[in-house]
Amino acid sequence: MLYREAGQFKTSYRADQRIFPILQDRVVVGALLLVAFVAVPLWGSEYLVSALLIPWLILSLATLGLNILTGYAGQFSLGTAGFMAVGAFAAYGFQLRTPAVPLLLAFVLSGVCAAGVGAVFGLPSLRIKGMYLAVATLASQFFIEWLLTRVGWFTNYSSSGVINAQPMVIAGLAINTPPRRYLLVLAVVATLALAAKNLVRGRAGRAWMAVRDMDVAAEVIGIPMLRTKLSAFAVSSFYCGVAGALWVFAHVGSVDPQAFDLTRSLQVLTMVIIGGLGSVLGSFLGAGFIVLLPLFLPSVLSAVFGTALRPGLLPNIESFIFGALIIFFLIVEPQGLARLWQVTKEKLRLWPFPH
């Protein structure tokens, strides 16, 4: 009933290929954007904006990047954090050495750097597949971390290896308060999410999915294997690179290369799997699940148990419940939260009527 499509006729292919062909979706998304762009910056608390929304959005962007590579093009990668590091240190380098380059352009360029590095480390994908490829991409993770630690030029010879992000200024406006940083992150993430959706619903996305589903048939159709796989690596790394740059500049402010270690890669991979492989929406849901749940769990737990438990026990119980929830969701819906949402939508077409 809520999702009734009856009466919504499409009279052109253009209307049929919109991102949100159903009116209800357009209304909901419009409302969400309004809340995100207007209500949150105006009335959101500093905690909500800086501690929840900014990291969630940035990690969503990295998840989206990995999802393009793994979910759409079917190429496993454990090098996500490495590509984020490339973006972060490239953005720092551009701001440091070419101050004339505007901030947003520096972000784009740092994404391009990451894309180049990603394409190079994507070369093994032409010969090896699946788990073996994942192991090969581990090389990029370790190599990039090592390079950024060892070669002083990248960190501007800082003795501790830590880089401090320069103050952000866009067209004379200092981006120094949480709402401003949040708006910057939101705008970048929204733009890139739209671009990702455009890519995956068009020719590039079809070629990626064809390679994922049956590479022999894809080749026989005339899809170039080299270009398709490398473009997936490049686009994916671009997203990760921009996410890395935002992470330093809009979230933490200062990092060392170890902030982008294998744990971060695995975290992003978990987000992709929980959210749903091959779904733009799933990337946001998966990142939300992993980022927001650990923040809500303590308050829920202390509300339930009160002071009955020793304080040291609480963090352990949290990890317990967190792990159990991940397993639970994977059993209930192996295709992730995005699929869960899709099923709900299909049910809502009829609900509350039985037929």
Binding site: Y13, R203, R206, A210, D213, M214, A218, G222
Partner: protein
């Protein structure tokens, strides 16, 4: 089926002296044949005769160990599947090779990939030329969807479709590339009688309406004799007959390959039975 048969034109595909071995196994030995423009040519033979290997050589999946292939006047010893596709050769597979996670529409649109040119950035913006290109190709694909009568499932993921429809989607995907030569590897395997009749009709229509040359592997003799203009018979990797369905049907070697050559013991058994 009462088709006008004066349709056949110049030689489009010429396979000459092609051999292929896998280790010690000789899959094909000195096979030569021609397919002419707009011809519907069937390749038949018992299991393991090398029919699929021959198709795989024609569209570049396998490289022959000897012999040449000339397509549309260009002779070559080997080529990649992609070069074959760009040259105008499309195919379907014996075991359906659709992209399971994609919708029917997306699967068929993939067939037009080689004809699309917008850059990655233009696609990301989905504006102007990229969008127009997408719509133009969608129009073409919709005509095929209409032609093959699969309108009702265009948004369904192909994995959920019944077998017969999946075969039809695969045909549509191959046709989307507007091929000059269409290779069909057992398009009717595992189908019931009605599905077979539908598929026969579609194959004839493709041949008629688009003037596509078709190279077809099929086991159902009734189908082959009805559809094909010419039949090539393979047995143990060698060509044993080549001609019109009538000629092939009467060829003693073909009969022997399909029914076996009677041995002394068989004759005695027959004599005893008669006595």
């Amino acid at each position: 089926m009462g088709h006008p048969r004066q349709k056949v034109g110049e030689v489009l595909l010429e396979v000459s002296g092609v051999s292929l071995s896998f280790g010690g196994v000789k899959a094909l030995h000195q096979v030569s044949f021609q397919a002419r423009e707009r011809e519907l040519c069937a390749i038949i033979g018992p299991n393991g005769a090398g029919k699929s290997s021959l198709l795989n050589i024609v569209n570049g999946v396998y490289q022959p160990s000897a012999g040449t292939i000339s397509f549309a006047g260009v002779q070559r010893k080997s080529m990649s599947p992609r070069e074959a596709a760009l040259g105008g050769i499309a195919r379907t597979f014996q075991n359906i090779a659709l992209f399971k996670g994609m919708s029917v529409l997306d699967n068929i649109m993939t067939g037009r990939d080689a004809k699309m040119h917008s850059s990655l950035l233009a696609q990301a913006l989905y504006w102007g030329p990229a969008q127009r290109e997408e719509m133009e190709h969608r129009c073409h694909v919709e005509k095929l969807i209409d032609f093959l009568q699969i309108e009702h499932v265009r948004k369904t993921p192909v994995g959920r479709l019944p077998y017969g429809l999946q075969k039809r989607v695969e045909l549509a995907r191959a046709l989307a590339a507007e091929p000059r030569l269409l290779l069909l590897d057992e398009p009717m395997a595992g189908m019931n009688v009605e599905e077979k009749q539908d598929m026969c009709r579609f194959i004839l229509d493709v041949n008629d309406e688009f003037g596509t040359t078709i190279l077809l592997i099929e086991h159902d003799m009734a189908v082959v004799m009805d559809l094909a203009d010419r039949v090539v018979v393979l047995d143990y990797g060698r060509k044993i007959a080549d001609g019109t369905p009538e000629e092939v049907r009467r060829n003693p070697e073909v009969i022997a390959a399909y029914l076996g050559v009677p041995t002394e013991a068989d004759r005695e058994a027959v004599a005893e039975g008669a006595g």
